[in-house]
Amino acid sequence: MTKKNYIYILGCTCIVTLFSCKHGEGEYHNITDKIEAKSKNYHGTSISSEQLLEGIETVEISEGPHTFLIPERKSQIKSYACTECHTKPLHQLKTNDTIKKAHWDIKLAHANLNTMNCITCHNGNDMDNLKSLTGNTIDFNRSHKLCSQCHSKQFEDWKGGAHGKKVAGWAPPRASMTCVNCHNPHKPSFETRWPARFNTQKVKERE
């Protein structure tokens, strides 16, 4: 009688124990394996950023293995083309010091004056374009080529996508902000400021 009961209870316990294993996991050992396995047959998704990019003018660039869109720049620059005012090469525009200079408000805070001044990037003889360190012409729409001369590490990260922001969404086609969309080229570092939020409840909670 009792023996039978014991066997019965033991049996029940065994069944419950077997049944109690966690389900639904273990298909992949870890997330890296999962990503690898599941992206093998990747043929794109139906989600696209194209709609979000509507109305934003972009240009396509190719840098190494990466091809993506960046916002068009020239139309965003106030009073481009520069030659509309700067009708003559810079040295011919020089006047005496009494009248207000053009671009008087620009204070260069980019590296130090030993390294950079206006003509490191701007060409006094061709103001509609930028110029590389060796004097080659760089289009305003390709200004990243200028930055990348010194900031090669950031450039690598930007190309891959580790540096910078996307224009609209995560979905393809990729459209990334270019350097000057976030950094003011004359004053590229971010300023200190106050945080956007302060949580008074959290203070109370931790008193």
Binding site: K153, D157, G164, C182, F190, T192, A196, R197
Partner: protein, 373 residues
């Protein structure tokens, strides 16, 4: 909806019977294919019999499955009225002749909302129905229209997130954007994201970090690290939920059905990342600040006594947009994308930067990586 992999106990009389009928594999429902033997009754007849017996309730779940099958709705209602306060209120209003049409409709909606099933197990029609009810309910109450989506996970998408510790300056624009996007309770100042201000040279000392600083940032000699729900691939919170009110979607998002949650807070205890928040009181958002572009599993209005958390802004991310925090970040410290797309930027980060995750030893497999320049 296949029920073969069900691991919970729910009475699914309809479903099992249906599977038993159309099982010849040829796709036809009449007895025309070779695999039907003649002594069986034809599938058509059987279907008709089943239909007669259980009507159209074969796909319902949860409460509906049981009560619609066993007895007619009115009997079931009456039985439950006694025990369920909110139901009692709804019935008395809907029975009263003096109340207006609107009040009646409200009561009807409340009633159906109270007894609807788990979103995860709903059919598409049921999902649409509950979304419609919620939109209508908001219209009746606030006289404003909201736009609520019930978009499912897309195929070949697995969301992942990367956070650049060297870039974050602690501005907390992300926190602000998140609160506004996701309609979080303003009274208790609920925030999904925490930014921890850490001292240089001390490593990741979370306990000494300040996550509620208020001074000019970035502060000298400090760096910043953001945490939120990491959408683990092996989420402990999902395992412990007694009612499966939280689960991992196919695109990797760990979501909550706010209406199915019973508020036991077991998931909160199980989360090693402080990713979950509880509505200790009725959440309040000023009407003009309500984000009306909503998703059922995302930023729709919650009620008191339920869990909520970051959903990688499911209402945005499933539409191709970046989550609000990613979009708001002025420094580009936040990177979001599809882990399955070999050309995506998030994949480039994972493959080319030195990435790590928090508390990797716990085996939770978060889909949120940190890296430095």
């Amino acid at each position: 909806m296949s029920n073969n992999n069900k691991k919970w106990f729910s009475l699914d009389l309809g479903n099992t019977k249906k599977e038993a009928t159309g099982s010849c594999g040829c796709g036809k429902t009449s007895g025309g294919c070779g695999s039907h033997t003649h002594d069986q009754i034809s599938d058509k007849d059987f279907d008709a019999a089943v239909d007669a017996a259980i009507g159209d309730e074969r796909k319902k779940d949860g409460f509906d499955q049981v009560f619609d099958v066993q007895m007619d709705r009115r009997t079931a209602f009456r039985k439950l009225t006694a025990s369920l306060l909110i139901g009692a209120g709804a019935v008395s209003t809907s029975c009263s002749v003096t109340t207006g049409e609107n009040a009646k409709e409200k009561a009807q909606i409340d009633w159906e909302e109270q007894f609807k099933g788990n979103y995860k197990l709903m059919t598409d029609e049921e999902r649409n129905a509950t979304v419609e009810r919620l939109v209508r309910s908001y219209q009746l109450r606030k006289k404003k229209n909201i736009n609520m989506s019930s978009k499912d996970a897309e195929k070949d998408v697995l969301f992942g997130y990367a956070f650049n510790i060297s870039k974050c300056q602690g501005y907390m624009d992300c926190v602000s954007a998140c609160v506004e996007e996701n309609n979080q309770d303003r009274n208790s100042q609920m925030e999904y994201i925490r930014i921890h201000e850490m001292k240089d040279g001390k490593g990741f000392k979370f306990d000494e970090a300040d996550d509620n600083y208020y001074h000019e940032v970035p502060a000298e000699g400090h760096f910043y690290m953001g945490t939120q729900c990491f959408h683990c691939d092996n989420p402990p919170c999902v395992d412990v939920c007694p009612v499966q009110a939280t689960w991992r979607e196919d695109d990797g998002l760990v979501v909550i059905d706010y209406d199915w949650c019973v508020g036991c807070r077991y998931c909160m205890a199980a989360c090693p990342y402080d990713g979950r928040r509880f509505n200790w009181s009725t959440p309040e958002v000023p009407e003009e600040e309500v984000n009306k572009n909503q998703h059922y599993l995302g930023n729709r209005m919650r009620k008191k006594g339920v869990m909520e958390k970051c959903t990688f802004c499911v209402q945005r991310s499933r539409a191709g947009k970046n989550p609000a925090c990613v979009e708001a970040c002025p420094t580009g410290a936040r990177i979001f994308g599809n882990l399955l797309d070999p050309d995506s930027t998030i994949r480039w980060v994972l493959e080319n930067k030195k990435v790590f995750r928090l508390k990797e030893d716990l085996g939770t497999e978060p889909k949120f990586w940190y890296f430095m320049d």
